[in-house]
């Protein structure tokens, strides 16, 4: 998938996405591989005002311990949506992100083909809110773990 194919209208086909009642903890989510481009890295870096030369300056990055350009650790913010299809329940309008935790192994790099293994891990009710916990691992084309993490979401009522 590339960005031009991404459905930005999260209302479209919203009824196809699983509600809190339908989500089964432990059940895998559908995912799709995504090729991370340098343009996509730069677009993300610019919006968080993170212009480190490891992300932008090829010569600087080549001389560094990383040996070339990398993406910032938080690139999983983009990968979460680029590696999931339009009917994924994370896109349900009104989904509130209550918090996330991520562990980082190796950096993603421009040109990587990234795949995601993801599932709902848990769901519960707390203070009259419906929560679902999602669990995710991103791999590169060499099956190396890039990062793994989970997030706590409040589901739309």
């Amino acid at each position: 998938m590339n960005e031009s194919e991404f459905e930005t209208d999260f209302w479209k086909d919203a009824e196809l996405r699983k509600s809190w009642d339908q989500i089964i903890p432990g059940e895998p989510r559908k995912t799709i591989p995504y090729t991370l481009t340098l343009d996509a890295i730069h677009k993300y870096c610019r919006v968080v005002d993170d212009m480190h030369p490891l992300y932008f300056d090829e010569a600087f990055a080549r001389k560094s311990s990383y040996g070339g350009l990398i993406a910032p650790p938080s690139i999983h913010i983009l990968l979460m949506f680029s590696c999931t299809p339009a009917d994924d329940w994370m896109r349900s309008p009104g989904t509130v992100n209550a918090g996330q935790s991520w562990s980082y192994n190796i950096p993603a790099r421009p040109g990587d083909t990234i795949r995601l293994e993801a599932r709902a891990l848990d769901k519960f009710i707390r203070k009259d809110r419906l929560f679902v916990v999602h669990d995710n691992v991103f791999f590169n084309q060499h099956d190396q773990v890039i990062c793994s993490g989970r997030g706590w979401t409040i589901r739309p009522m």
């Binding site: 209208d9 968080v48 913010i77 996330q100």
Partner: protein
């Protein structure tokens, strides 16, 4: 020098990040860069609604924009000294809105050495221009032993 940097770390040491001032335009740009087009972040009419116990009163910045701002603070500190960001956990306390200015800080909570490497843990906070805490969390960073 990685070795020297780790040896200088002390609990209580403060790491300061750069202020970030989200606007309606920057939030829209974050939608496009992250592919997160949840209407919480762009649809004024939708945000007039009531979200169970919560009334936002307008569009809000992505919580993960905080995550990106915290990450920049950590990596700006770590890259020059050979450190590696290994973990970041955050919880959002109150929403951030266009016109706010948020600033992340981190305080070293502990340092320790394991069989294979050297680590520091940090308590992370993000405050807005009124001093309110909008996000809290913990980070763990590694200072690989010199080869």
């Amino acid at each position: 020098m990685t070795t020297n940097t780790f040896d200088t770390l002390r609990a209580g040491q403060l790491i300061e990040g750069q202020p970030f001032a989200p606007t309606r335009e920057s939030i829209r740009a974050f939608c496009e860069a992250s592919l997160d087009f949840n209407p919480l972040h762009w649809d004024d009419d939708y945000m007039k609604g009531n979200f169970g116990r919560t009334q936002f009163g307008g569009i809000i910045m992505h919580g993960m924009n905080n995550f990106g701002v915290i990450t920049k603070m950590l990596t700006d500190w770590l890259y020059p000294v050979g450190g590696v960001q290994r973990r970041l956990e955050t919880r959002w306390k109150i929403p951030v809105k266009p016109g706010d200015t948020i600033t992340p800080t981190a305080t070293i909570s502990a340092v320790r050495t394991t069989d294979k490497s050297r680590w520091a843990t940090l308590d992370v906070q993000v405050r807005n221009q009124r001093g309110e805490v909008v996000a809290v969390g913990e980070a763990m960073v590694e200072f690989p032993a010199a080869a």
